[in-house]
Amino acid sequence: MMATDFIEEYALAAEISEAEALEPRTLAEARRRPDWPLWEKVIQKELETLRQAGTWELAEALVGSNIIGSKWVFRAKKDAAGNVICYKAHLIAQGFSQVPGVDYFDTFAPVAKLAAIRLVLMMAAADDMKMHQIDIKGAYLNGELTNREVIYMLQPPSYHAPNSPRLVCRLRKTLYGLKQSGCQWYQRLVDIMLRHLGFTCCDVDQAVFFRRQGRAVIIVLVHVDDCTITATSMILITDFKAWILEHVDITNLGKLHWLLGIEIKHDRE
């Protein structure tokens, strides 16, 4: 098993999409475009996802409380050949107007260290373990806000609730753009891994979780919403995917080939 080489693919992709102006920058711009029906559809889809997740409830803001803004951002995802494969719309909370100590407390979120990743790769290669990768869909939407964090957000631009346009959203779950989203998502993940799935958090790297039963070992490396699963047998990996699916929505990326810009090649089955 080996690892190497990084291409600045992401930077390149960003440059290309900028040049071709595939993505509208504002809602108003999106509306003027011929492909607006496509964008409109994904906006509705995003609103439905947020509604299902119970991200907020409409409420009257307390007098003097801080109300943060919200904004739509649009993304056109492309495949390797440069064809648009899907449109995405995200509602982003404008977290820059949050006040520390009032609207948010901790903002840290650990990610697996490169040395830990290489160590697990080495162990996998030495003991012929299987490595798979999953991605957690809308990871930040799974974070839960505590009762201490009362956050009011303006209703999504142009998509106000029909009967109560003057109410604001009292957030229950985290949203992209909030200061504490990363931290709260990590807390939620720890809760799932430790309490529900019976994993142990590694002492030296907080983003590494493992579980051992006799000779069977499963190790999970976490990088925000990317989980790399290493296990002594395929059954353990399949089971893990089924378990975590009971708590969060995932995309199954199959065998590990690419991790943090590092290409992984398996030269033995």
């Binding site: 690892a3 190497t4 990084f6 040395a115 160590l119 080495m122 290669a125 030495a126 590092i262």
Partner: protein
Amino acid sequence: MDTNICLTTAQSLSTTSEYAQMCNVSYHEAVGSLMYAALGTRPDIAFAVQTASCFSTKPGPAHWEVAKQIFRYLKGKMNLWLSYGTTKQDMMGFTDTDESMAEDRHAISGYTFLIHGSAVTWSAK
């Protein structure tokens, strides 16, 4: 990195022509991307990148040449991979320091730890 190249802050920008030459160079970004390679899978360039990064604040043409040299080296050695699981042997560690040889009198230290004969952690600073 060539052993006969010696980088110092004296090679930083001094003349206007040097300034004109360097003003469009994104040295910091270049060294930053080399740094990720060095941290991720390339222990072989760790020391060279460390040396180049010392001059990020005020790079001169000589420093830029070294940075470009590292890119050329990487391009030539693209087929080098970290390879795990080839042998079984005990953990080995190597470490070395020099004592304030650099012009700023900071000690440079480096280490690498090998498990089963392949590098898992390393550092040069």
